[in-house]
């Protein structure tokens, strides 16, 4: 009996020890508890069994029917419980194992398919493993072929580069540093150098001891190339924009500068920052900036390229002639968000063109005179014939009278001299006829005088600028048309405008102002050209319209007389009057075309 008890106690200790060991091994408290329970039950059953077998016929204190039933019930319940817990544990185990398996598969899948190259090395800088990507890159079929090798043993890796890698690896392993996004070169098996961004982190065991290095890098060769291309293109663009002889700018709708090139800054004697981010109003006088913005607006609204040639004031005080091209700058939605302008100085070219034009004008004048000279030679013979006769008769009479005495004869002598002089003057007139231009056949059409005024202003723009004249236009809207030869009326307008400009030239100081007005006077359209020059001569104002009467030192005295001839041949009237303050106004009127419904009353 005692022996059995001792055996049971021993067994129970052994079981406890096994349970403890199991517990450590399994590291699961449920399993441990279960094992202990099984042992306890086994012990009990053994004890009971042994007790019965050892002491047959003896009455056991526990062998009462209640006690026995209780013991059996507890044992069965325990057994059931055990089975349940065990099965649950086993299931869980199975699932967890499955999870682990699938996790590792996932990891290997990731390693296989990510575009990055991944490797891990031991503390001796030898490869512990890598992904397919890296193996392929370094010229190996399988990642396993790389295991155990160091960088220096890889034929594709340049020793110089290998030393660099080693240094970084050492830093990671010895000092536990991490490198994140380090740019370096990788030599590949195909001999090419790859630009890569590498991250290296220490590989640690559970205790946190560094056991190696984990590296991951990816190819940025393309990105680098793109960056390089971008840099080159930026450089190209920059050198183009800055070395062009043109001024370049960009402005938004409000007139704020978003870009200017150096030349633009130089022209305006300002720094880049003093222009970009500022508005055009800070750069130009209000009048000019408004005009420029108006033309910007045209580009914004039409979305079309705009060309123009204009005068531009500069800080140096001298205006330059510029050719401007403005183009719309569009965003992704194709909306014009900015206007980009390029302009360049054509002052020199403009001056030479102007000179050329002046020479052309002179040439045209000479040609006209030559043509006229030929014409005059023809008609001079006809007209000079009677003049010649008059002169001869007069001279003869004078001679006859000279030889006689008497008062009446003296008077006759005087008159005869006058006849002779007049005849000579008539000859002079014929010579001066050379200035007349050839008259082309009259072509009457319906003419809008407002339009003609604007056209004429363009024609004489050069003179206007030369005389620094400021125009004032007061043209009434919806002006009725007149029946006229547009070219001839234009000749009249050009003549009046030129006279006005020349009149203002007598002013010592600006402003030189010339205003052109149009309005309806009963059944006529009246055009007036006023200047602020010295005004009209005190007397003989009507003589201004006579042929060869001139107040200009180099005038022919033809302009206004031709103007009068033209206006009168159109059934109109031309006249002049002094302005109340200063200067003169020349006006003409032409009858409104009878077919025009706007005919006045």
């Amino acid at each position: 009996m005692h022996f059995v008890l001792l055996l049971a106690i021993l067994f129970s200790f052994a079981a406890t020890g096994v349970a403890f060991l199991l517990c450590r091994k399994i590291r699961d408290w449920r399993l441990t508890a279960l094992a202990v329970l099984i042992l306890v039950l086994a012990f009990q059953q053994t004890y009971v069994l042994l007790a019965h077998r050892a002491l047959p016929g003896t009455v056991q204190p526990t062998s009462s029917s209640w006690s026995r039933t209780w013991t059996e019930l507890v044992a069965s319940t325990m057994a059931l419980l055990m089975v349940m817990v065990l099965s649950s544990i086993l299931r869980e185990r199975e699932r967890s194992e499955r999870d682990v398996k699938s996790n590792s598969e996932l990891l290997s899948q990731i390693l296989r398919y990510i575009p990055h190259s991944v490797f891990w090395k031991d503390r001796n800088f030898r490869f512990l493993g890598c992904n397919d990507n890296l193996a392929r890159m370094l010229g190996f079929d399988r990642p396993e072929d790389l295991i155990g090798k160091s960088d220096f043993e890889l034929p594709s890796i340049d020793p110089e580069l290998a030393r660099n890698y080693r240094e970084a690896d050492r830093d990671v392993i010895r000092a536990g540093h991490s490198f994140i996004n380090l740019e370096e070169k990788i030599s590949q098996a195909d001999g090419t150098l790859m630009d890569a961004v590498t991250s290296k982190v220490p590989l640690r065991d559970e205790k946190g001891t560094v056991i190696g290095v984990l590296g991951i890098f990816f190819d940025i060769t393309e990105r680098k190339r793109a960056e390089q291309a971008l840099r080159e293109s930026q450089h190209l663009y920059h050198s183009l924009v800055e070395s062009l002889p043109q001024c370049i700018f960009r402005r938004d709708r409000a007139g704020n500068y978003t870009f200017v090139n150096q030349r633009y800054c130089d022209l305006h004697l300002k720094a880049y920052d003093e222009i970009v981010g500022h508005t055009i109003h800070e750069l130009y006088p209000a009048e000019i900036s408004k005009r420029i913005l108006d033309s910007d607006l045209g580009v914004f609204e039409t979305g079309e390229t705009f060309h123009t040639v204009r005068w531009l004031p500069t800080r140096s005080g001298k205006a330059i002639r510029v050719q401007v091209i403005k183009t719309p700058v569009r965003d992704e939605q194709d909306r014009t968000v900015e206007v980009q302008g390029v302009f360049w100085d054509i002052t020199e070219q403009h001056h030479s063109e102007e000179k050329l034009r002046e020479r052309d004008e002179t040439l045209a004048h000479v040609t006209r005179l030559t043509t006229m000279g030929e014409m005059v030679a023809g008609i001079a013979h006809e007209i000079n014939q009677p003049l010649y006769a008059i002169a001869n008769f007069a001279t003869a009479s004078s001679r006859v009278l000279e030889s006689d005495d008497g008062n009446t004869q003296n008077r006759l002598l005087e008159w005869n001299r006058k006849i002779s002089q007049q005849a000579n003057r008539a000859g002079d007139i014929l010579r001066r006829l050379a200035a007349f231009t050839k008259k082309s056949p009259v072509q009457n059409t319906r003419v809008d005088l407002n339009h003609l005024v604007r056209e004429s202003l363009e024609l004489v723009g050069l003179d206007a600028r030369r005389h620094h004249v400021k125009h004032q236009l007061k043209l009434v809207n919806d002006l009725p048309h007149v029946q006229a030869d547009a070219i001839q009326i234009q000749q009249v307008l050009v003549n009046l405008l030129r006279n006005a400009y020349e009149a203002t030239a007598h002013l010592s100081s600006p402003p030189h102002e010339v205003s052109v007005r149009s309005h309806v006077m009963q059944n006529n359209v009246q055009i007036s050209v006023s200047d602020n020059g010295p005004g009209l001569p005190d007397q003989d104002v009507d003589k201004l319209f006579e042929t060869f009467y001139t107040t200009k030192p180099d005038g022919m005295g033809m302009g206004l007389s031709i103007a009068r001839t033209i206006v009168e041949s159109h059934g109109g009237k031309i006249w002049t009057q002094a302005n109340p303050d200063r200067g003169a106004t020349f006006s003409f009127l032409l009858p409104i075309d009878s077919g025009d419904r706007r005919l006045g009353n």
Binding site: V376, A380, E382, L387, Y388, N392, F393, G427
Partner: protein
């Protein structure tokens, strides 16, 4: 015997030629008018002195063509060309053909008068000179061959006795011939003889006359 100078006026315009005619008359000169260059050439007698006033541009023959015709016919009548419009080439043309002047219509007071006067005077002078030369040539023609030889030596400034020796003649014969020469040439001295012969210029010393 002296023919009075006449101003010949050629112009296709009646008023023009009448006016020049009036002017001419006021100068106390005779005038004759022609409506064309052709009629003038048909009727003109080169012996008649005076001058020609012609219009440049005319129906038919022009003033310059008329000048050319005059040169061809060796008519030395001074020419005044009148034109409505003068330019340099025209003036050069007219002067080349011997016009004394080119006037533009209408002529300034007395311009035409003074030019007509100058032209007439020039013609009269020319003609007088011409007549004088002709007279001397006529007189020269009356000299015999013997007299011509003596005249030639006289012009060379030789003395009578030297001439006699040179021509192997008697001194008396030389003196006689010399007397004849002075008489025929209507001169009083050798000096006058030299002056008269100089005006003629070239003299044909090889007379074909016999004594």
């Amino acid at each position: 015997m002296e023919i009075e100078p006449t101003v010949f006026i050629v112009d296709d315009d009646p008023a023009a030629r009448q006016s020049v005619s009036a002017l001419t008359e006021s100068m106390g000169l005779l005038a004759e008018t022609f409506a064309s260059a052709e009629t003038f050439l048909e009727t003109y007698n080169p012996d008649r002195p005076g001058c020609l006033v012609t219009d440049y541009r005319m129906v038919g023959m022009s003033g310059l063509e008329l000048q050319e015709a005059l040169v061809c016919n060796k008519i030395t009548l001074p020419v005044i060309v009148i034109t409505a419009y003068a330019d340099v080439p025209l003036a050069v043309d007219a002067m080349k053909r011997g016009a004394i002047t080119l006037l533009e219509k209408p002529c300034h007071e007395n311009e035409l008068v003074s030019n007509i006067r100058r032209a007439v005077e020039m013609d009269v002078c020319n003609r007088q000179e011409h007549a004088h030369v002709q007279q001397i040539q006529e007189r020269l023609a009356t000299l015999s061959n013997g007299e011509l030889v003596v005249t030639k030596l006289l012009l060379a400034g030789k003395m009578n006795k030297n001439i006699a020796r040179e021509l192997d003649l008697g001194l008396r014969t030389v003196e006689l011939r010399r007397h004849q020469i002075m008489k025929k040439m209507e001169v009083d001295s050798v000096a006058q003889l030299v002056k008269a012969l100089l005006a003629v210029g070239d003299i044909d010393w090889t007379g074909d006359k016999t004594d």
